[in-house]
């Protein structure tokens, strides 16, 4: 197998929003980074959350410090990352039977954390959001917004790469070489090519999210992680203009966030012991639907497109039985007491505070490197580019109609993604040292995200890639199977009503017409 060698000032492990945000922050301070990601961008919690830019109100009762932090960061991000944010505003609503003491205390809690809220008459709230049910007894207007975490990471990485940082996808850490309290070399392996890569480093940051404990263990450091799985559902249409939160102690199925043309309903909190197999279950789905329907009755009858799960990386030793009570604040560990001078771990935290987490981590790294440049991400706009813009729902459709180029045929009809967009994404994937395949294209666009969940676009994009010489032998079939299987994990829990029809079509085409499930058997 090939062997590669690199040298860098900072090796960042993990390419979620924190890792990519850190790479951007450091790059803007003139520090060169290498990012190692075992899968692809946002493979963990960064790619499996609500996409909610918290006003902070959700934490006013149980974690006022986090509430304040969210409020402050929300303001900054609205300024510097406005193209990743839709300023939807939000509501907190209580329904009959909800804890009245909590309802009564809520405005005071918000005041205490310096978060502005506006009380609404339930009737007025229903006028603002007609999908709200008749059982609303209290309502507050807050400053929630929706934010696209994929666009954030893609934009972060794009700028970091332009400033000289290097991204290695499908590359996992297999070991550390250390002498005298310092990690000297990090050993990596590319799981697609089998290539071994050694990276000589000055600093190492573990930003592996839920996998932070596993990475630290490779260096002989113990971090006690608690894994809390959360599952979410994607609706076919957008059901509300604003974020709608349940006005109660955080629980299951109590937030509905708009995500462009859809809404995202979540979540659950299920304690899990390992990261082995994380998927949304049918019981969780039912729990989310039933809870959500208390606020918005249409959630009972409305069509769902898919479900997904993420794992919240939480650090705590004392509350094993109730993950919701563990702080959602972040942990920056300098590992001095563990015997390291150049190793740090950043984990926990929230999407809303990712920039602040990156700033604090970059401050530590720069101190250790002797770099004095200050953080500029508070003011430097995060610009959108071809690498980062295609995750936005409706954008490719809008541009396709506007350009009106007949030859730019559409490869994904549900989300109207033409071949020119696929071309642009394929270029990005190559620049990011990633494997050009369906999963990677889907992550960077709307391909596979509409109601057919990859049935038609899966075979079309595969054919397109063969035609352009990007696939050889039966690689395209393996990729297609992997893509369809990955989609299926999210489809299975919501297969009733309209989506069971889509599932039937998918199976009829791929297994009935094409015997794709038997392909390997045939080759043997």
């Amino acid at each position: 197998m090939k062997k590669g060698h690199l040298e860098t000032q900072v090796l960042i492990i993990g390419c979620g929003v924190t890792g990519t945000g850190l790479a951007r922050d450091l790059s803007l301070r003139g520090v060169q980074c290498v990012l190692a990601e075992k899968g692809d961008l946002n493979a963990g919690a960064s790619g499996a959350n609500h996409g909610l830019l918290h006003s902070g109100c959700r934490y006013v009762a149980n974690d006022p410090a986090i509430a304040k932090e969210c409020r402050k960061e929300g303001k900054i991000l609205r300024r510097v990352a406005s193209n990743c944010i839709e300023n939807t505003g939000g509501l907190f609503v209580a329904v009959e039977g909800d804890d009245e003491k909590y309802i009564a205390d809520f405005p005071n809690f918000c005041f205490r954390s310096d978060i502005p809220v506006q009380e609404l008459d339930p009737k007025d709230a229903r006028e603002l959001e007609p999908a709200l049910g008749p059982k609303i007894i209290a309502a507050y207007e807050v400053e929630d917004a929706s934010i696209d975490p994929f666009k954030l990471s893609l934009a972060n990485i794009d700028q970091a790469q332009k400033l000289g940082s290097i991204l290695l996808c499908h590359t996992r850490v297999v070991g550390f070489e250390q002498t005298n309290r310092r990690i000297r070399t990090v050993l990596l392996k590319n799981s697609k090519t089998g290539e071994d890569i050694s990276v000589d480093v000055e600093q190492v940051v573990n930003a592996a999210g839920a996998w932070a404990g596993e990475i630290a263990a490779l260096a002989g450091v113990t971090i006690d992680m608690a894994y809390s799985k959360g599952s979410l559902l994607v609706t076919q249409n957008r059901l509300a203009t604003r974020v709608v939160n349940r006005l109660r102690w955080p629980s299951d199925g109590d937030i509905l966030v708009p995500g462009g043309t859809v809404s995202i309903l979540g979540t659950t909190s299920v304690h899990i012991d390992s990261l082995g197999s994380v998927f949304p279950t049918i019981d969780e789905t039912d729990l989310i639907v039933e809870n959500g329907a208390a606020m918005l009755p249409c959630l009972e009858t409305n069509r769902y497109i898919r479900a997904y799960s993420g794992v919240r990386p939480l650090i705590d030793l004392k509350h094993k039985n109730n993950d919701r009570s563990i702080s959602r604040g972040f942990s920056l560990l300098d590992h001095i007491q563990d015997g390291f001078e150049n190793f740090a771990t950043i984990t926990g935290g929230k999407l809303t505070t990712f920039r602040y987490m990156a700033e604090k981590t970059a401050d530590l790294v720069c101190r250790r490197l002797g770099v004095s440049s200050p953080c500029v991400t508070k003011n430097e706009p995060l610009s959108s580019s071809n690498a980062s813009r295609w995750t936005e729902p409706g954008l490719s459709a809008k541009e396709w109609i506007h350009k009106n180029e007949a030859e730019d045929i559409i490869l994904c009809e549900c989300e109207i993604v033409p071949k020119s967009v696929v071309d642009s994404i394929l270029t990005t994937i190559v620049e990011q040292n990633c494997q050009p395949n369906l999963k990677a294209i889907s992550l960077r666009s709307r391909i596979g995200k509409g109601q057919c969940q990859g049935t038609l676009c899966g075979s079309r994009v595969t054919a397109y890639m063969y035609e352009h010489g990007l696939l050889h032998s039966d690689q395209g079939l393996s990729d297609l199977k992997e893509f369809l299987r990955e989609r299926w994990i999210g489809e299975r829990p919501i297969l009733w009503n309209g989506q069971i029809i889509q599932a039937e079509l998918k199976e009829a085409l791929y297994c009935g017409l094409c015997s794709l499930e038997q392909h390997e058997a045939l080759k043997k």
């Binding site: 030859e407 559409i410 299975r492």
Partner: protein
């Protein structure tokens, strides 16, 4: 509403089972009315699967589906095939194929055996009845003859290069090329197999296509193209292309929209009308009134509501599964949509689908459906026929997995045959 349309048999459904039911009924002189949605036929590949399962696939040679049905009836005796004699299944196929032949769609079978086919993904599948337009491809694949696969600029989801890349290890003399379809100076979003199929009904377009293909022939002894070679006159079109190109031409099935599916639909539309079947396409059943021993009275119409009343002595329910609208699933249960018949189904949603889409055991939900007696009458909750003269055919039946057992067409044809015969017998 005008006065009721009177008939002996009312067929609900215009998929394969509905079309077969109407055909068999008309052939027996039964006055027949048919209503249903035709949307499904754009997905029909044109191949007539009888049966094969994965275990068979592991064998080198093609499966004998007739033997497989015998084994099936030992292993899964509740499969609808097991209520029909082999003789009847063969008779059903013969009658069905001879109707298609008369309508201009000839079929071939590999004797008693299945044939291996190239799919639009470049995988291989087995099927029983092969449209004549695809038969040369079966031979070419079997003998690995030097062969050229041609696709067209702008025709989505079909790549000759993909098929070649996947098959070239076992078929070194397979080549691929892409050409522009005649008269398409630029491709547009609306470009589709339907348009090219219509275009090839004109001989000057066939000449141009042959001219465009010929320079790429080299040593090829057969030419494969996506299944878009004409809409009605495929026999003449293929013969002319064979002659003009100089080697036999064959079709490879496509992803939807499927031209061979449209051809089937056209042949049935014309053929059933000429046999006197009164057809209400894009109609659904809105109202059902039925006494246990009296005639059925149904209100049918377009999306808006009942526009016609049909009075029938018997009904064949061939409304399909979820996609066809015969079954409906909510979060907890699967229901039959027209007569509210009990649906045999897994205990809860947790057991409907397997965690892996491609699990070789198939998804238990696919075996859900209507349980029947030996006369193909759906049962009520006490296990007796729900109605004296209500019969069911096709994919709505329980205890089969048409997708994974690759028995969709065979099931539709054979159960339609059995249901029509049962109606004929019970009507007296």
């Amino acid at each position: 509403m005008s006065k009721p349309i009177e008939c002996d048999l009312f067929v609900i459904g215009m998929g394969m089972a509905g079309m077969a039911s109407a055909l068999f009924a008309a052939n027996r002189g039964i006055s027949t009315v048919q209503a249903g949605l035709t949307g499904e036929t754009i997905f029909a590949s044109g191949l007539l699967d009888l049966i094969y399962t994965q275990a068979v696939y592991e064998q080198k040679s093609c499966c004998n589906p007739w033997k497989k049905i015998v084994t099936l009836c030992r292993e899964a005796p509740k499969h609808p095939y097991c209520r029909i004699s082999e003789q009847d299944i063969r008779a059903a196929f013969d009658e069905f194929l001879s109707f298609l032949e008369d309508g201009g769609l000839s079929y071939h079978t590999n004797g008693e055996y299945n044939s291996k086919m190239i799919t639009p993904l470049g995988t291989i599948k087995q099927t029983y009845g092969v449209p004549h337009t695809m038969w040369t491809g079966v031979q070419a694949l079997k003998k690995k003859r030097p062969c050229l696969i041609v696709d067209f600029h702008g025709l989505k989801g079909f790549s000759a290069r993909q098929i070649r890349a996947i098959l070239k290890d076992t078929w070194p003399d397979l080549r691929a090329t892409r050409i522009s379809f005649p008269n398409t100076t630029h491709v547009a979003e609306f470009f589709s197999g339907e348009i090219t199929a219509q275009a090839l009904e004109l001989s000057k377009n066939r000449e141009k296509l042959a001219q465009a293909v010929r320079p790429h022939l080299e040593d090829a002894r057969a030419v494969g193209m996506p299944a878009i070679l004409g809409m009605s006159n495929t026999r003449e079109i293929l013969a002319e292309l064979d002659e003009q190109i100089g080697v036999p031409v064959f079709e490879i099935p496509t992803m939807p929209v499927s031209v061979p599916g449209l051809r089937l639909n056209n042949v049935f539309s014309r053929g059933l009308l000429s046999k006197g079947v009164q057809r209400f396409s894009q109609n659904r059943v809105f109202e059902v009134n039925a006494g246990i021993d009296s005639d059925f009275v149904l209100g049918i119409g377009n999306t808006s509501g009942a526009e016609h009343t049909v009075r029938a002595k018997g009904i064949i329910l061939a409304s399909g599964r979820f996609w066809g609208g015969g079954l409906y699933a909510d979060r907890k249960h699967i229901r039959e949509t027209i007569f509210h018949l009990p649906v045999h189904q897994p205990t809860n949603r947790n057991t409907w689908h397997r965690k892996d889409l491609m699990d070789p055991r198939g998804h238990p939900v696919n075996r859900a459906g209507l349980e029947i007696d030996d006369s193909f009458r759906p049962l009520d909750s006490s296990g007796r026929p729900a109605f004296q003269m209500l019969f069911a055919a096709g994919s709505i039946l329980a205890n089969q997995d048409w997708i994974r057992m690759n028995c969709g067409s065979g099931l539709a044809i054979a159960t339609a045959y059995a249901a029509v015969n049962a109606f004929f017998k019970l009507r007296g």
